[in-house]
Structure formats: structure tokens, C-alpha cells
Symmetry: C2
Subunit: 82 residues, 2 copies
């Protein structure tokens, strides 16, 4: 039971920013997005990816590898359409 909740949280945490990425690129409206918050989140995901690589945890590597691309895409949209 706990494991399923953990897996669900992991998957949801990876894909939850897809709608934000989509919105930023499709509307080009990024004025309300905090660059600081998204850069800090980018650093967070990068650290989790490094941690996953160091301890050899495949779920962490996959989740944060995908997450890195998604968040990077939000940051690029913010810098492009500011």
C-alpha cells in the first residue's frame, strides 16, 4: 500500500510540470512565473539526478532525468518570453 503511494507520488511528481511547460510555450505568457523558483527547482532536480547516479537508483535517475528536461524547458521559455 505504502509502496503504491510512493510510486504514484514519484510518477506524478515527474509529469506534473508538463501542463506548465505546455502553457508557457503555447501562450508565451511567462510574466507570472518566478525565474528564481524555477532555477532553484532546476537545481533541485539536478541534485536528485546526481544523487540517483551516485547511489545507482534507477527510479530516481529516470524520474529526475525526465524532470530535468521538463523544468529546463520552462526555464528556457521564461528566459525567451520575459
Amino acid at each position: 500500500m505504502e509502496l503504491y503511494i510512493g510510486y504514484l507520488a514519484g510518477v506524478l511528481g515527474t509529469i506534473c510540470w508538463v501542463p506548465q511547460t505546455w502553457k508557457a510555450w503555447s501562450t508565451q505568457d511567462t510574466s507570472g512565473l518566478s525565474l528564481a523558483a524555477n532555477l532553484l527547482f532546476l537545481a533541485t532536480v539536478t541534485l536528485w539526478l546526481v544523487y540517483g547516479l551516485l547511489v545507482g537508483d534507477l527510479p530516481l535517475i529516470l524520474a529526475n532525468g525526465c524532470g530535468l528536461l521538463i523544468v529546463l524547458s520552462i526555464v528556457v521559455a521564461k528566459l525567451k518570453y520575459k
Copy 2:
């Protein structure tokens, strides 16, 4: 070394949305924020909190308890200033 990276990622992941909360409430500009993404993220943080409570993991409980308040505050701002 890995542990320090993990702890740093955990702390950063908890506080990284504070600038977004601040920006949303101070500028009242939330048009660029994706409600779907923030609701999914709220669900994610809630699931991690439930998972932490079920397995009795204090760092998970503390991080996601704080995270829940921060993300909830962003969602409320989005609903209030849409």
C-alpha cells in the same frame, strides 16, 4: 557525500517554491501559472506527506508538510487572482 547531496536536494526542493509564492501574492500576476500543474504538484506533495506518515519518515513528513503549505498558497493565489 551522497547523503549531503540528498539532504541538500531535500531542503532545496522544499523551499524552492517560496519565491513563486511571494511573486504570485505580491504582483497578483498569476496568468502565466498553470492551475493544472500546480494542482498536480499539490497532489504530489500530499501523496509524499501521506507516504511519509505511513512509513514514519520524519524528513519526508517535515519537507512535504512545509511544501504543502507553500504550494497550497500558490494555488490559492492562482484561484484568487485569475
